[in-house]
Symmetry: C2
């Protein structure tokens, strides 16, 4: 499709380093996508996201269809023109959000009827409506509409959701028209390897330029997730990008890359920053901790971000205690820098065929708990 | 005093353009000081303040003594090192805040005993304690401890507060030791010209390198304020800086400069931004207004700030409605840019001896209400 390509340029074990090209720019993979739910990453300006190396943002069809409305965004030229972020966007289909946020859901084969979590108004999300919304928004990559059962759902529920997700993926594919968007399919199936395999084969048969793994950040056990990734590595086409949705901690990203994942998104670095939880190269740090009250050191002495260059732990703790918004801004800039720098280090280690060495060193350092422990 | 000077370099009528030199840098006057109550301007990073032309910030002794504590700030090297703002700081003495924020005040000649608005803990603010706090904080300019009665106080109350303010100014002067700080006196007296005159003469007799006018942003009638400024213009030493505390709207700043004022501070541009109220060259604009829903124009097409270069009214309205913190950041950047640009235009007009012409044009444009009205 015009303006799109994906190439795996280096491999080290199952880990892959590559390049994703979209109409709004290139993204080196493995890539982390900061979450900009409503068309804005919370507390950080686009300019600062670019400066710290963010290349692609995630936004949510569910939130934007409810506010300001996908027709409004379309009238203003789509998400890029509307938000002023001129790099690539990926939009989630609303499948996950409608199950986690909306009230009074009614699910049938057509789709999900629900009431808005904002004002109680009634809406339908279906494969066709999700494609309409996402085509209005105009992100570079859009997602098929899926059913995402909770992590503790019984096997029968997961099986039914998985087969419905395949039928909805076909309808999503048929309803999708824009040649300047890539539509990815979403593999479901919980931690059941046979369901995951069926789901992946169904989606590959329909044919998508990229595949996402859904339902793996919903409280399932970590060994279960790892087994799913390892199993799917042999089933999903090796030349297509793979996106692990909603994951995770720095350790999760490293473990995902080790199993062949190319793309990630997660609210953790941004949400934790607003709660005063910092990720550093020496483990996690809670800025509320009284030990930081007079600590003149930056959050992470080995980090070169604006926050670590200009703000001490003592100042950040003060801003957080005083409910100053700049506390959230500075700590989000640091956490996202840490995530993005970690992805860059990971890509380099794969290109140098030193991924396993880098992985071991990094995981030990993250677990060192020299800070507050995690 | 080492590292300090003030010079009036140009005059046009009573309006003055000059240069204030401090140990942490120079400030062109008339100057507007953004309010950074707790050592941070709400929602905007220092880097962005510098980029939009802020040269001096105001912080509050009252807030910082309560949190994180002036001793903590001192241990970390003072307000500049603690906050990372390396330009000049001015701290208010706490006089105004203790009367407007604290609970269960007990005022006597020694000072004010009060309970913290944060946790109810008991504290004393007196001239000596305020000087100790402000010397701990280490701002370039510090303020004498004053009593600031409300705008509707009876004359007898104002008279008593005014004479106490003079006695407290003398004690502040005696308790102040740091040679790298300038201590300004504060003139009180409400809208009573004779009390204002007595207060000014008392302070001039004590002798300060600069004079502030307090109690003129406390709900008093505007003509009363203008008369006070005109009366004091002939009494305060012409070669010393004059600071009108807590004022005001763009129109107020212009009217203050027309009456010989050199320095201002006010929460209006920052607080209004957080409430979605924008100042523009064509009047005020409420971003909540439904008319902005699909408006692709920037807040002020004649403004060159980051916000006006990158964000439409429609996007700002969306961010504000969605409670996104970046709404506050972007709108604060614009409002402060508008204030600081207006000060720069004012300084230029004084240097070109075209202040009255500029003032007439600007006030007409601000009143045009082409936007939402004011």
């Amino acid at each position: 499709m015009a303006g799109f390509s994906f190439e795996v340029e280096a491999r080290d074990g199952r880990a892959r380093a590559g390049r994703l090209v979209t109409p709004h720019g290139e993204v080196a993979t493995p890539a982390f996508m900061p979450v900009g739910t409503s068309g804005a990453v919370k507390a950080v300006l686009h300019r600062d996201l670019r400066e710290i190396g963010a290349r692609i943002l995630l936004a949510n069809a569910y939130h934007l269809m409810l506010r300001p409305g996908d027709a409004v965004v379309a009238a203003l030229g789509g998400l890029h023109a509307f938000s002023g972020w001129d790099g690539p966007f990926l939009t989630d289909s609303g499948g996950y959000q409608v199950f986690s946020l909306a009230a009074l859901r009614k699910l049938d084969e057509e789709g999900v009827r629900f009431q808005s979590h904002l004002d109680g108004s009634s809406h339908l999300l279906s494969p066709e409506r999700s494609m309409e919304v996402q085509q209005h928004l105009g992100a570079d990559i859009v997602m098929a509409f899926d059913e995402c059962p909770p992590g503790d759902a019984p096997r029968a529920v997961v099986a039914e959701a998985t087969s419905r997700t395949a039928r909805w993926a076909r309808r999503s594919r048929e309803a999708h028209r824009r040649p300047d968007q890539w539509l990815f399919g979403i593999v479901q199936g919980g931690v059941h390897l046979d369901l995951r395999e069926t789901s992946a084969r169904d989606l590959v048969e329909i044919g998508f330029p990229g595949y996402a793994l859904g339902g793996l950040s919903v409280g399932e056990p970590k060994p279960g997730r790892d087994r799913v990734l390892e199993h799917l590595d042999t089933i999903l086409p090796a030349e297509k990008p793979r996106y692990l949705m909603g994951v995770g901690t720095p350790e999760d990203l490293i473990d995902g890359v080790a199993r062949g994942i190319d793309m990630f998104d997660c609210v953790l670095p941004t949400r934790n920053a607003r709660n005063g939880q910092l990720f550093t190269s020496r483990g996690r740090l809670s800025i509320r901790n009284a030990r930081h009250r007079e600590d003149p050191r930056p959050p992470d002495p080995s980090c070169a971000c604006l926050t670590c260059r200009t703000a001490s732990r003592a100042y950040l703790r003060h801003l957080h205690q005083a409910n100053e918004m700049t506390a959230a801004t500075l700590m989000t800039i640091h956490n996202l820098s840490f995530y993005l720098d970690t992805m860059e280090a990971m890509r380099q280690s794969i290109r140098l065929c030193r991924f396993e060495e880098w992985r071991g060193t990094t995981l030990r350092r993250l677990a060192a708990a020299e800070q507050d422990g995690s």
